[in-house]
């Protein structure tokens, strides 16, 4: 961390009344706060708890998979553990991870607003999320759920003897938390942009939240109603998908994937936004092709709704429908590719430094590129037939969700940590954790591509012995990854007490969030800022960045 001088003064010198962290010190003041920054912290705490619950489940699973005979835990326990891992990680960690923590914290700051459009709804959505989480945890404590996170009928409605209802209720409730967040974000972006913040001056993280929110409000209700129908069929005995009464289990799959494929974009779009912010800041260059980046985000969110059928190529779906979905799935790869190319091109003629957020962001690009390309294999019907429901799929979506979203989550955490807490963490440890995470991740998941094409089905704890070597590699990598995940909580919490003061703009970034104090005061800005610039004016147009300089050419509120 070079102590570069900040030439520009923040708009709002820290008032003596303190910042959002000191605005109230009781737990009650946190639990009833409608301040978006405090709600972001509430989310950060709850998703961290859920993350470690999900991680504990997978730790047992990876240990069990060291041997091919399934000797340590029972069949049912295994099924319940991977269901727990899936449900918790998808709905209580990944979906709320970046949008509800960093989105909540930064969206009003980045557009120069005092808060989100509906602050009370924002707090309510956190309580809904927690209520959903508690239902789910109840399902776990009461004995677990063994349907997989996909809740396929008729297994979930008529054959499973586990606590499907509680888990479904939990996800149902959490779904409304998602919808509330989506509504709030879109309304905020539409209505609360500060003067001069036109649509094409929005930071790309804000655009990514906009695209994400669209998916949240249009996809999540379908999941909710699908789970409601599952509850109706299982609990009230109302046949809907039951083939004995003429129902069709594939109808359930259509409804489920209508949500769950776009849900992947809920996880990855905000990650793309984060990475854009970080890359441009540490390369000291304007984002390459800003407008294309915007179109690509919106295109991914839109086309992402048309491709769900590629989860159903072997399900008994009409082969003609499969062809349509296969075609659309190839098409959705294009905007993602555009983003990757633009990130890479942003580095060109930059002045790149490699602080921890940048390492995570670069790792993201690499892992997302691999994850995205392997998506093409799944879009192609003949190859998908082989790898569907095998470890190939597991590897693919972990490259997107863990290699992509979680890397970006850590990038965001390190990038905005000084803003959120006002403190600097230890850079050496942070870099070490980033590198460890990258290698641990690849050791864990790359072997699973091979394992998948060899034909090892997912959700198997008993497997043919010739697959063992890959499982051992994967489990070894997973322990490295686990160690890497345990590091940041330690040095970050350490920094809160002993870290150096960060200053308002430690990275020399251009966004409005860096123009207020760290941590920000209660209503973000004492005077609403006026935007004069494109985002990312790290260097004058035509001329490149000044080598070695940490000072942005113009922040967003500085006139040209």
């Amino acid at each position: 961390m070079s102590g570069a001088t900040i030439l520009v003064r923040p708009l709002t010198p820290v008032p003596e009344s303190g910042n959002y962290l000191t605005a109230g010190r009781t737990i009650w003041s946190w639990l009833t706060s409608t301040d978006h920054k405090r709600i972001a912290i509430l989310y950060a705490i709850s998703i961290t708890v859920f993350f470690f619950i999900g991680a504990a489940a997978i730790a047992v699973i990876r240990f069990e998979l060291l041997t091919p005979t399934g000797q340590y835990i029972s069949d049912d326990t295994y099924n319940k553990l991977f269901t727990l891992h899936g449900v918790v990680m998808v709905w209580f960690f990944l979906i709320p991870s970046i949008p509800n923590t960093f989105g909540n914290f930064l969206l009003p700051l980045m557009i120069g607003a005092p808060d989100v459009a509906f602050p009370r709804l924002n707090l309510f959505s956190w309580y809904l999320n927690i209520a959903g989480g508690l239902f789910t945890l109840y399902a776990v404590i009461a004995g677990g759920v063994d349907t997989g996170w996909t809740f396929y009928t008729p297994f979930s409605t008529m054959f499973s003897n586990s606590h499907v209802l509680a888990a479904a209720a939990g996800v149902f409730v959490a779904g409304f938390s998602s919808i509330a967040t989506g509504v709030n974000f879109i309304a905020t972006i539409h209505m609360l942009r500060t003067e001069g913040m036109s649509w094409m001056r929005l930071p790309l993280f804000v655009w990514s939240l906009y695209a994400t929110s669209l998916v949240l409000i249009l996809a999540t209700p379908v999941l909710a109603v699908t789970l409601l129908l599952i509850v109706a069929e299982r609990w009230l005995g109302l046949p809907i998908f039951d083939p004995a009464h003429g129902g069709d289990p594939l109808l359930f799959q259509h409804l489920f994937w209508f949500y769950s494929h776009p849900a992947v974009y809920i996880m990855i779009l905000p990650a793309m936004g984060v990475v854009t912010e970080v890359i441009t800041c540490f390369a000291r260059r304007r984002v390459f092709g800003y407008d294309f980046m915007v179109y690509a985000l919106v295109a991914i969110a839109g086309i992402g709704f048309f491709v769900w059928g590629h989860h159903m190529f072997v399900s008994g779906q009409s082969p003609y429908a499969s062809l349509v979905f296969s075609f659309l799935s190839f098409v959705v790869a294009v905007p993602s590719a555009i983003k990757v190319f633009n990130w890479t091109a942003t580095l060109y003629r930059g002045s790149i430094s490699f602080e921890a957020p940048m390492l995570y962001a670069l790792g993201f690009i690499g892992l997302f590129t691999i994850g995205g390309s392997t998506g093409l294999f799944l879009a192609s019907i003949p190859v998908d037939i082989q790898v569907h429901d095998t470890y190939f799929v597991i590897a693919h979506f972990h490259y997107i969700m863990v290699g992509g979203s979680v890397s970006a989550f850590f990038a965001a955490l390190h990038y905005w940590w000084p803003k959120i807490t006002g403190k600097l963490y230890d850079e050496a440890w942070a870099r070490f954790a980033a590198i460890l995470m990258f290698f641990g991740f690849n050791f864990t998941f790359f072997p699973q591509f091979v394992l998948g094409y060899l034909g090892n089905p997912r959700r198997y704890h008993v497997y043919p012995p010739q697959f063992q070597v890959f499982h051992v590699m994967s489990s070894t990598g997973a322990s490295v990854l686990a160690a890497a995940y345990l590091l940041p909580p330690i040095y970050l919490i350490w920094s809160m007490r002993w870290g150096r003061a960060a200053g308002d703009n430690p990275w020399g970034a251009t966004g409005l969030e860096w123009r207020t104090s760290s941590p920000p005061p209660l209503h973000n800005f004492l005077n609403p800022p006026k935007v004069e610039q494109q985002p990312y004016a790290y260097h004058p147009e035509g001329r490149g960045p000044v080598p070695g300089s940490r000072t942005p050419y113009r922040t967003q509120d500085q006139p040209s």
């Binding site: 249009l218 109808l251 048309f306 059928g309 003609y320």
Partner: protein, 104 residues
Amino acid sequence: MTGLEATATTSARGDRFRSIWRRNLVVWLALDLLVFATLGLAYLPLGYFNIAIALTIAGVKIVLVAIWFMELRLAKPFTQLASTIGFVWLLVMFSLTFSDFMTR
């Protein structure tokens, strides 16, 4: 955009009163008429046209409610856009799902 709220004189209030009643009453009568129309048409043996007609009338009713009762005619363009997006996405869901069921 201005936060000005109308403070009306008594006679202006009476005008408002009457215009609110008159406008909404017309819409309400039209809706009732459509209910009776769709009810009557349901008893004519028209085969597949029965459901088509019924849904078309339902569509007209929805448009009436949305434009007049829900005041979409006065809303900002992006609110009008938001009101249609649900229907557009419903169309996506239906057409792609039926691409499976109709070609099995």
